[in-house]
Point group: C2
């Protein structure tokens, strides 16, 4: 079995990515980050999910909160809440964490090199998250080219491939795909601002998730503090 590094937050997208990597014949090594995100239970949830998938889970501590500049790491910037899915900002939202995917992928490249893996999976998506510059196909292509110049493997002619299999899928298509792979989405977590009573139901991530289940015609198993509808 070939090892593959899978960037893994325990959300809907990255969990689908993990299941896909395994279906494609890889032995996934899930890679998560404690990066000062306000929803810190994300990492514990990811650990629980990785265990249920029976895959190795590597957690790296990095301090993005020291930089600030995003609602996801800075308590002084509010996570935007909406009363309908149409209110989502289609520009670059304040939940964008500067260079986050660049940093995450860089660590994935390091781990791939140490573990002798030629494959990295990332669950980015250019359909629903059109506002995030580091979720676009041209970013992934440029990163892959750079990574193959940066590393011992690249120099030795062993090409590193960055897989972004969800890139052009809608959230509804991702949900359908995941269900066909046997994922229990009740265990996955997307909310940017979870409460003790469940997902907030009002942030971008909650709206897009809820819309995905609705458009897929699949019952949404998420527990929301306030149901998005």
């Amino acid at each position: 079995m070939k090892p593959a590094i899978v960037l893994f937050s325990g959300g809907l997208d990255s969990t689908t990515c993990l299941a896909l990597a395994r279906k494609d014949g890889f032995t996934p090594i899930a890679l998560s980050f404690r990066y000062g995100q306000r929803h810190s239970f994300e990492v514990e949830n990811a650990a629980m999910l990785a265990k249920s998938f029976d895959v190795e889970h590597v957690i790296v501590d990095i301090d993005l909160a020291a930089f600030g500049g995003s609602a996801l790491v800075d308590e002084t910037i509010a996570v935007p809440k909406h009363s309908s899915v149409d209110e989502i900002d289609r520009g670059i939202p304040v939940t964008y964490v500067p260079a986050r995917n660049t940093i995450f992928l860089s660590f994935a490249v390091a781990l791939a090199e140490v573990r002798n893996a030629n494959d990295i999976f990332i669950g980015v998506n250019a359909i629903d998250y059109s506002g995030y510059p580091d979720c676009r196909p041209e970013f992934i292509a440029a990163f892959m080219q750079m990574a193959n110049l940066a590393t011992r493997k690249g120099v030795e002619g062993d090409n590193l491939i960055i897989h972004a299999p969800l890139m052009s899928l809608s959230k509804a298509e991702i949900v359908k795909l995941g269900v066909s792979l046997g994922i229990d989405y009740a265990q996955t977590h997307s909310c940017y601002d979870p409460t003790e009573n469940g997902a907030c139901g009002k942030c971008d991530a909650c709206w897009l998730r809820a819309q995905g289940f609705e458009q897929a015609g699949i019952a949404d198993p998420t527990i929301y503090a306030a149901t998005p509808e």
Copy 2:
């Protein structure tokens, strides 16, 4: 004054880079990492140097040691010692830290975005460190292209420039340049495996540093436990 992020280890190269950035009219923000390097006093030395340059110093904690795979972060891999400069391995040495410059530059991109800086300085050099894939000009060019696709600034047309002003200089030329900029190299630190009695005098970094001073015809102010000669 325009801000510039300067990757800063407090070594000979990055200190020269910091002085150059300031000479070029930038207000440097020095960026260092505690990454599990065995020579951990590197960061304290960098802090002291940044203070003497009167520049802001940002230190980020990241756990590269968790990955292992390099003599610089893994206590079980010995730092190679040589009895002459000609013994230095011209392939990729075991002191290569997988994807280190990729990771460091990724954090620099994040900090640049948060601080509204368009310029990043890195003291890589393709002459003396020919074995490190992430010190080559083609790597820096590919990283810059990727970074401009990854970020809000790039999307908004504000190009990020990665400066690698030492790329094609010999160590002797770097030393001469730094002395002309008023750097006191006694304060800088290069050794991969420093002892209580000073730099080891036998690792790649010590040999290249000593050879640089010798070829520049400038007295080497470094305190060595064993003088490389």
